[in-house]
Symmetry: C2
Subunit: 245 residues, 2 copies
DNA sequence: CGCCAGGTTGATTTCGCTCAAGCAATGTGG
DNA sequence: CCACATTGCTTGAGCGAAATCAACCTGGCG
């Protein structure tokens, strides 16, 4: 069903302290960092490859060095629902590890990625030796829970159009740039299909929404590039459906 | 808008070690338990009262001794969406506390409740003095995240009917009993409106689904009492929409 | 060049919502 | 004790948003 190119074989310890500085791992001592780096296995993944599948046992964590990964579930008809994206610096698979469960979602590579695997046993060791690490993941998990609750809430109480606008505004932080004249430019690393999966709608419906917004002159879509001439008007529409950010 | 009866005033330390034995707090030492009990403020809440509101600052935790609480969000049209229920033994407000956020949902009493408040400062102290406590909440939060992801997934990929059946099967664990002849009996502590809010649909739609299922002879609904003559057939329908439990 | 995947568009259907009325159970005041 | 609101639930008629089904672009690539 999916392309299975590339091979996750090279075994070079490859985490720079630099890279980890801005992540959950920044609290590690240099000794702990060494333990981490000695036990990590780095691999390259091509687009379409899976890092792990739904219902797989959780064997450890995956640190995303580069690329983009979609965490998704598949329904009975084979349709995909994307739960979240993982960007460089993010850690994958920590939820099942901490919950003591198996994976409840799969992770598919969307943009060619470089990823380091950390076996569960080492992670447990680190969690015991460094309580700040656990505290960090605790905070992150609690925040993720808030976002997940919010996704459910929006899915059942907001029309697809407002959810699309919200998604664009969230993506703005990572993929957006402000242009001279105050207009907003986005270049999304997502296909239409992926965006639809994040919204929980069909690609056809997304297509229609895009066209509708385009026709209203609120934004201009060209492939994965989006120009929003008047961000304020979209934000106003968003506020009409939300109370908080 | 809501009835504001009862008064949360009495200040009796009221947590029995017995009660906490089966909760997240069982890992406390007797010294820590004493600290907990000395700083806890117990109150009685009547149906319809709020324990905290959406966007309130998080001042601490609430331990549910008895009763039933609905954690909910309200959309712009005033419609409610119930995110989860809190039963005796559950702790409320730990997510915002651990995430360092304000409340992102309100907590309304559904069945008259007895609830103990624990100030944030004491909780932080306990988290530092007893790492097992943090580990327990970490696990619980990670599990809750899995369930929240699943709710979103179901909301966008399953029809309301299947979600209703799933809800009944989840409620079975707490509100159900098996009758002699293999049929299943449920007595729900929820109004129709509450059930609809949990499914993210309107009460009218729920009413129609109930009638439909009743007409098919799959179950008999009478007020909050439900008799399911052939649970297997409902479970089969559920499996047709899910792969995992 | 022909193929194919990703995207768009149109026609139609369907599921759940809205609006409105009706009904039973409960409560309240005269 | 009865007349009358109130509340929770159900039912019906009509509507609308998104899904479905099917055709048709479009651009990249062997």
């Amino acid at each position: 069903m999916t392309t299975e190119t590339g091979n996750p074989k090279d075994h070079t310890p490859c985490l720079s302290t630099n890279f980890l500085k801005e992540t959950d791992w920044s609290v590690l001592s240099s000794r702990e960092f060494q333990l981490l780096n000695e036990n990590v296995t780095c691999s390259e993944y091509g687009v379409g490859e899976y890092i792990f599948y739904e219902a797989d046992p959780c064997k450890g964590l995956y640190l995303v060095k580069s690329g983009l990964i979609a965490v998704k579930k598949i329904d009975i008809e084979g349709e995909q629902v994307i739960l979240r994206l993982a960007n460089p610096g993010d850690t994958l698979g920590y939820r099942p590890l901490l919950a003591g469960e198996q994976h409840r979602a799969g992770a598919e590579v969307i943009k060619a990625a470089s990823i380091c695997f950390l076996p569960m046993a080492i992670m447990r060791q680190l969690l015991i030796s460094n309580h700040e690490l656990g505290a960090g993941f605790l905070k992150r998990t609690a925040q993720a829970l808030g976002e997940a609750d919010n996704r459910f809430f929006e899915a059942v109480s907001l029309p697809a159009r407002v959810r699309l606008i919200h998604l664009l505004m969230i993506l703005r932080e990572r993929c957006g740039s402000l242009i001279d004249d105050g207009s907003l430019f986005l270049e999304l690393p997502l296909t239409r299909r992926d965006m639809a999966s994040m919204l929980g709608i069909r690609p056809e419906s997304l297509s229609r929404l895009v066209r509708e917004i385009e026709n209203e002159g609120l934004a201009h879509f060209s492939g994965s590039k989006i120009t929003i001439s008047n961000p304020a008007s979209l934000l106003r529409e968003l506020d009409a459906g939300l109370h908080q950010l």
